[in-house]
Amino acid sequence: MAALSIRGLSKRYANLEVLKDIALDIESGEFTVLVGPSGCGKSTLLNIVAGLDRPSAGTIEIGGRVVNDVAPKDRDIAMVFQSYALYPSMTVRQNITFGMECRHIPKAEQDAAVANVAKLLQIEPLLGRKPSQLSGGQRQRVAMGRALVRNPLLFLFDEPLSNLDAKLRVEMRMEIKRLHQRIGATIVYVTHDQIEAMTMATRIAVMHQGSVQQFADPDTVYRFPANLFVARFMGSPPMNTMPARLEAENDGPVVVIGAGRVDELRLRLRGYDAAAPFVGRKVVFGIRPECIAEGSRTFSSEAPVLVEAPVELVEPTGAETMVLLRLGGEPAMARISPDIRPAPGTSAVFALDTRRICLFDPETERLIA
């Protein structure tokens, strides 16, 4: 069953169109992450789903019921906010029961529900405290408790981790994922952090300028980004992209970077049949940093493609060494073994994983193959 289904949804403020013809179908039990840079409309979309904002056009169905004209409280949703939005004058317990109080649920039932949620989130010792007496991580837990206690059809998270420091964010990220695995709730989660999207989502909707660029599972989004925006937004550092030409040789298409230069790079493509119409034309060549490694690396049983390239900059991170090099004159980041440190200004041999190259149409910016 589709827990949430959005069709033809758009939102405009005066002359500004912030959401354009959004269509999403989210299955029950899915963890969907809406990710995009600030101003892409993801939070507006979430607010519309919550009923806190009205769409200009389109329909929203939650659990098979059209909810366009249903008040937020009757949509069978719960929301966790970026600022947590805990009621400052109430205790943690009152914060959690406020919703039930509004719906006139008997006291005994409220107490049982609070006990249940408090145990799940391990916040029992905090129940008597005020939000101001809690740390950031504890507030976050309470905010989740307030959502969980409703046991809704749909959970909405609006950048819930962005107010936490880096260490706590990683912990809470795992905790939310664990929670999802345990209770199997349907979650729509908004973030601008592509790592949160990759690590938590079962499906990612990448948004940009008011429209969904790609809606797919994390591996697909990463491996086959639908367009240049997605390729450059997902991944850290992002995918290397550079202008190139596609040429035909006897045994198949070849992508040429820096054509005509002395250091021109020619890479044979295998299994890129979809690129055939672009032979003889310009393309945008894309390769992930981890697909450029030190020369001794083997990516598969096949012999790797080896390239000698000038090294410009070396950034050791501990877990790996990032190298800025040039491929056919174009800058590219490579991710190599941590103990290998090529000297800047020299040339080194790198292995390329040519099976994972992406080609984009330079005009439409869409993925060709």
């Binding site: 937020p72 719960a78 929301m79 600022s83 009621y87 400052p88 109430m90 919703g99 509004c102």
Partner: protein, 274 residues
């Protein structure tokens, strides 16, 4: 230098008060023989007793006590009503978006800029039509409505700092306009309510024009009665008693400041919730 300047300004500011306080403690004869300014030869507390309950104003000789009561009967309800209504209005215009909200807020606060004299005639017509001329209820009505401009302005400025996400969370939790106000907003409003109450109380208590225009005789608030008190004295001027009456009349506002003063400054600068 700064201290000197500040001290001089303070002295100039306080001089009339000092004169009044000193005179309130001198007997009438003493003032009549000497000048208006001078140290009391002995403390004449009797002036206060006379001013409170014995002195004759107009035709009755009950001091200013009944007029103090009149003022209280106007000031207390008008302060409470205008503060509460202002808080609700400020909450509505700051935290709930609706069509024309800024216009409504603008029109309400426009009231701050209308001179009092300009409003006299319209109020006369209103009070006449609702039959509240020469009643304390009429004054309560005037002060409640006039006060709204100010209380709305103050409460709104305070509430705009409250994160909108609180309202959204409460709406999803199923709370409506008034439940959110009572359970979430009002408990956060302590500082601003104290500021508003102090302000309203002081202004309504000290208000004179409406009191003297719409009310006559026994119903007058104390500010209007004080004038009657000085005018009524035909024989010899009773400066001592008059001074004492002025001080008694000023005491309630002074007390309000002393009790809530520290919140006043805090409330003016406080930025809601963090």
């Amino acid at each position: 230098m700064i201290y000197l300047a500040v001290s001089l300004i303070a002295a100039a500011w306080l001089a009339p008060l000092v004169v009044v306080v000193l005179n309130s403690l001198r007997t009438n004869e003493e003032i009549a023989q000497g000048s208006m300014i001078g140290w009391p030869q002995h403390l004449a507390w009797s002036n206060y007793a006379a001013a409170w309950s014995g002195f004759c104003v107009a035709e009755t000789c009950a001091g200013i006590r009944p007029y103090m009561l009149n003022s209280a009967l106007v000031t207390i309800p008008a302060t409470i009503f205008s503060t509460l209504l202002g808080a609700i209005a400020g909450y509505a215009v700051s935290l709930w978006r609706f069509r024309g909200d800024n216009w409504i807020y603008g029109i309400v606060t426009l009231g701050l800029f209308l001179p009092q004299q300009m409003r006299l005639l319209p109020w006369t017509i209103v009070l006449r039509d609702v039959g509240l001329i020469n009643t304390l209820t009429g004054l309560v009505l005037i002060h409640t409505i006039q006060g709204l401009s100010f209380t709305t302005l103050f409460c709104r400025s305070y509430y705009v700092a409250i994160p909108h996400e609180l309202i959204r969370a409460a709406r999803i939790d199923g709370a409506g306009f008034f439940r959110i106000f009572w359970r979430i907003i009002l408990p956060l409003s302590g500082p601003i309510l104290i500021v508003t109450v102090i302000w309203q109380f002081t202004h309504i208590w000290n208000e004179f024009l409406y009191g003297v225009t719409f009310i006559t005789g026994q119903q007058q608030p104390v500010t209007a009665a004080l004038i009657a008190l000085s005018a009524a004295v035909a024989d010899i001027p009773q400066h001592g008693v008059q001074s004492a009456a002025v001080i008694i009349a000023a005491l309630p506002t002074l007390l309000i400041y002393l009790l809530g003063g520290k919140y006043f400054v805090r409330g003016l600068t406080a930025g809601a919730v963090k």
